[in-house]
Assembly symmetry: C2
Homo-oligomer: 235 residues x 2
């Protein structure tokens, strides 16, 4: 945090002194999305070093945006929770995200999309209510991604929530999803639909027909998917 402050009384400038440092906005987004544990936060900001993450968390705490709590029973475990001020920051994050969704040309960013991050975000928005009332295991295969990050399992269990695995959990696979990372990202961001990707042969579903047909329901999208892009894509 630069003590080289803007020296302005304007609330925008004062808030900008917090938001202006690298990674802070993205980190707050991850906190607003619900992550509370250090390693969960890491998954949402994978390219941020642990040292910097730790530093930013202390800064946010000092600014009264988050609160650090010990997990009961284990004093070396901690959780980071948004304060009232932090929850109120959701409005800021949404405004920023809506602007980005509407005005930033995405082509470039789609190409080097990180599968781990995509799956981490997708996991969070899976709509269990649209899945059968039993354990459902969906295997995602990305055909254009390095082998060690190409295959993911999303296990939805009415009792345990949704789990994301990079190792085969060994369960029966209800649905196989085969696609490339760019298509999957575009769908999740609301720039393409399951239906259109299927008819383009960019997306292949095999397995349980009901689960396959319901994909556009149980696959929740990005919070910003509803906001239509206002600029034409570059290609």
């Amino acid at each position: 945090m630069p003590e080289a402050t803007y020296n302005q009384f304007c609330p925008v400038a004062m808030a900008a002194e917090i938001l202006g440092s690298r990674w802070t906005i993205v980190l707050i987004r991850e906190l607003c999305a619900g992550s509370t544990r250090f390693n969960d936060l890491r998954r949402g900001v994978p390219r941020m070093s642990t040292a910097l993450l730790s530093k930013r968390l202390r800064e946010l705490e000092a600014h009264g945006i988050i609160e650090r709590r010990s997990v009961e029973g284990n004093s070396s475990q901690h959780e980071y929770h948004l304060t009232a001020a932090g929850k109120d920051m959701t409005d800021v994050i949404m405004a920023i995200g809506i602007w980005g969704q509407r005005w930033i040309d995405t082509e470039l960013h789609l190409d080097n999309s990180d599968p781990a991050l995509l799956m981490w975000d997708m996991r969070r928005s899976i709509n269990q209510g649209a899945l059968p009332l039993r354990r459902v295991n969906v295997q995602f295969n990305f055909n254009d991604v390095a082998r060690n990050e190409a295959c993911w399992w999303v296990v939805s269990d009415p009792e345990h929530g949704v789990d994301l695995c990079l190792k085969d959990p060994g369960f029966f696979v209800d649905l196989y999803v085969e696609t490339d990372i760019k298509t999957m990202t575009a769908i999740w961001m609301g720039l393409a639909s399951v239906t259109s990707a299927l008819s383009n042969d960019k997306l292949l579903l095999s397995g349980d027909t009901d689960v396959a047909n319901g994909m556009h329901d149980w696959l929740g999208l990005s919070l910003f998917a509803p906001y239509e892009k206002q600029v034409a894509p570059s290609d």
Copy 2:
């Protein structure tokens, strides 16, 4: 602008790559407030070097947020206008400002408030409709500010708009406003009222009674004044 990008497809992260560099948020605020000329922008971000201002303007242009136009008749004069994308950024600036107004403790910032910046902001929000339909000249005296920035004249003319002068324009003075910089800033930010400052003897008005009595009307406040602070001030 760091090419060291966040490498995330999330719209929040993509927008944060623009907003995250120093001064950018404050500069966009000034653009949203209506400044279009280089030197007008400077007055809104007085501590920013011209070199950096120029650089940021080029970046904003590259991002499609502003458009640089030549002033007709003089090709060496330029104006910076928000594009549609830039105008849409107003929502982001408002969200940030509202958050700042509600949650940031202002005490520290009020103390080193810059009178030039305050007057520049105040000038913009003067409500001419609440002033007599003639030229009105209000002289502000700050009793705790270095001599060369202590005295300002605000000249409102129905035909020419509102002008701000640091040199005596020589007109008859309709109203003298005597106060300290902290009080004036607090009033403009909505943290104090003209009435309360008068009764505290922090503010002294002399001259035309009508203009004095109407001050809380013609003195428009900060855009963020209506939003109530959610945290108790530190002192």
